[in-house]
């Protein structure tokens, strides 16, 4: 019997790593760290989890250690947040290019300056091109499910790529919610043992992480790019298998009450849950609205997104990150680009909000939808609007 208990999302992610029976955990234990490695350290110390726990001196070392551990075929896990993710940035590329299926939970946090430890998606967006598979979670249950799923997909013999599981800092990581924990047998059924085909072995000498002169670098990068794009099939298969065993089905793009809706709002992560309550209220008042929760961020689900929004007239995209000097929020500009060649496509309106932990309440999402429709109808000289900003902004133009 699976059990339903109250768990902080961070602890749910740690619980998933424990039930996945990870071999190596390497993490920097101080701010901006979360309760995820803290709980795992406790589990290892208490004998609840038989793993090598390596408390390293920095996030750069944490990811480097994960790269080494995965290269010997160990099931490897780490967690970080905000500036920590930035500090391991270059090693993220090493993990993906070397095709090492490290799993990492990221508590999405703002980047300094000004110094902020609160949540937004600036860290996630800065690593979007690192070649990792990336998903966003709405709640504690998903923090558990996606972490477990990450091992299943990343370690698949046809994938072998690292996976990042994004949890909104504080709004999700530090919130206690009911979580259904499965039985170990169910987890073992879902997640087979990890066999890395290129594990370092003194009896079978190989070179990992070799240097590539200009005559092969492009070939290496294209091979990596194709591998990430092709991983989508296993991403979806993993979602299906998870659903069949645990009864909770996930999708790359998750439409909520979008049938026949003229206006769609697109959100990611925990904000989608707040947005759903607004959609419900607006639907009750007879408004033609729906929500798209974008779960899979890399590889980007082009086909699914086009399908989900093709009948809508207006698509309002809510970003939690500024692309300084760029064409709007990173998500909105990618969505515009996804729809650019479509004959029939909704008008895309871009909003940015929830920066550095600013709460976005139901009222704010209501404003976003109402104002979004207004902008779609009358146009706006600004590339995007920042929700709740004090003072009129008139200089963000293309």
């Amino acid at each position: 019997m699976s059990e339903r208990i109250g768990l902080e999302a961070s602890h749910a992610a740690a619980e998933a790593a424990r039930m996945a029976d990870v071999d190596v955990i390497a993490a920097y234990p101080i701010t901006p760290q979360t309760h995820i490695p803290e709980r795992l350290a406790e589990m290892v110390a208490n004998g609840e989890l038989d793993a090598a726990y390596i408390p390293v001196e920095s996030e750069h070392s944490a990811m480097s250690t994960c790269v080494g551990a995965a290269a010997v075929g160990a099931r490897t896990f780490t967690a970080t947040a905000g500036p920590g993710l930035e500090y391991m940035h270059n090693v993220l590329y090493v993990a993906s290019a070397m095709r090492l299926p490290v799993v990492m939970t990221v508590a999405n946090r703002a980047l300094s300056a000004p110094l902020s430890i609160w949540g937004d998606h600036s860290d996630a967006m800065s690593v979007r091109d690192t070649g990792w598979i990336q998903v966003f979670c709405q709640n504690s249950q998903e923090a558990f499910d996606m972490t477990l799923w990450a091992f299943r997909v990343g370690e698949d013999a046809g994938v072998l790529l690292p996976v990042m599981v994004h949890l909104d800092g504080f709004h999700l990581t530090h919130v206690t919610e009911p979580v259904i924990l499965p039985e170990q047998e169910e987890v073992d059924k879902f997640l087979p043992k990890f066999h890395y085909p290129f594990a370092l072995d003194p009896d079978k000498p190989m070179t990992l992480g070799a240097f590539a002169p200009p005559d092969v670098y492009s070939e290496a990068k294209v091979a990596q790019e194709v591998a990430l794009r092709k991983s989508k099939a296993v991403v979806i298969k993993g979602f299906e298998e998870l659903g069949d065993i645990f009864g909770r089905y996930y999708h790359p793009v998750e439409p909520y009450k979008t049938e026949g809706a003229k206006t769609l709002l697109l959100t990611m992560g925990s904000f989608s849950e707040t947005a759903k309550t607004v959609i419900d209220a607006k639907k009750d008042r007879g408004e033609s609205v729906g929500l798209i929760n974008l779960r899979l961020w890399r590889p980007f689900p082009f086909k699914e997104l086009r399908q989900a929004v093709k009948s809508a007239e207006i698509l309002i995209v809510f970003d939690r990150c500024i692309s300084f000097g760029g064409p709007g929020g990173p998500v909105s500009s990618e969505i515009r680009s996804t729809l650019y060649d479509e004959k029939q496509r909704p008008k895309v309106v871009s909003f940015i909000g929830g920066l550095g932990g600013r709460d976005m309440s139901a009222k704010d999402f209501e404003y976003v939808i109402d104002r979004g429709r207004e902008i779609a109808e009358n146009g706006s000289e600004e590339l995007y609007e920042t929700v709740g900003i004090r003072g009129k902004v008139t200089d963000i133009r293309g």
């Binding site: 070397m98 990992l208 590539a212 290496a220 091979a223």
Partner: protein
């Protein structure tokens, strides 16, 4: 055992890359012609050479081979033309000449 070959050249496509760019056979570095970007090469004057072996000892690419008669020979497949051998030779028996001078 299959013959070792360097994975490069016009027939080698992105599909031929191993997963993660792993090199599955050990010892491939010997196949890579590191001398192909040399701009200068060492010329040895056997008259001056006293077979001390300092050039062989200092060569950072192991591109100098001892011969049976006690002299040393540059392996231009690997020699990058750094000129260290010429610098350390106590007899001034090695001179670097421009590649174009052939």
């Amino acid at each position: 055992m299959t013959e070792k070959r360097l994975k490069t050249g016009p027939d080698f496509t992105w599909r031929d890359m191993e997963v993660g760019n792993v090199i599955t056979e050990a010892g491939n570095a010997a196949l890579r012609e590191t001398g192909d970007w040399r701009t200068q090469r060492p010329i040895v004057d056997k008259e001056k050479c006293n077979k001390c072996g300092l050039c062989w000892l200092h060569c950072p690419d192991a591109a100098i081979k001892p011969l049976e008669d006690g002299y040393y020979e540059n392996d231009l497949f690997y020699c990058k033309g750094c000129g260290i051998c010429a610098k350390v030779c106590p007899k001034g028996a090695i001179t670097m000449i421009e590649e174009e001078e052939k």
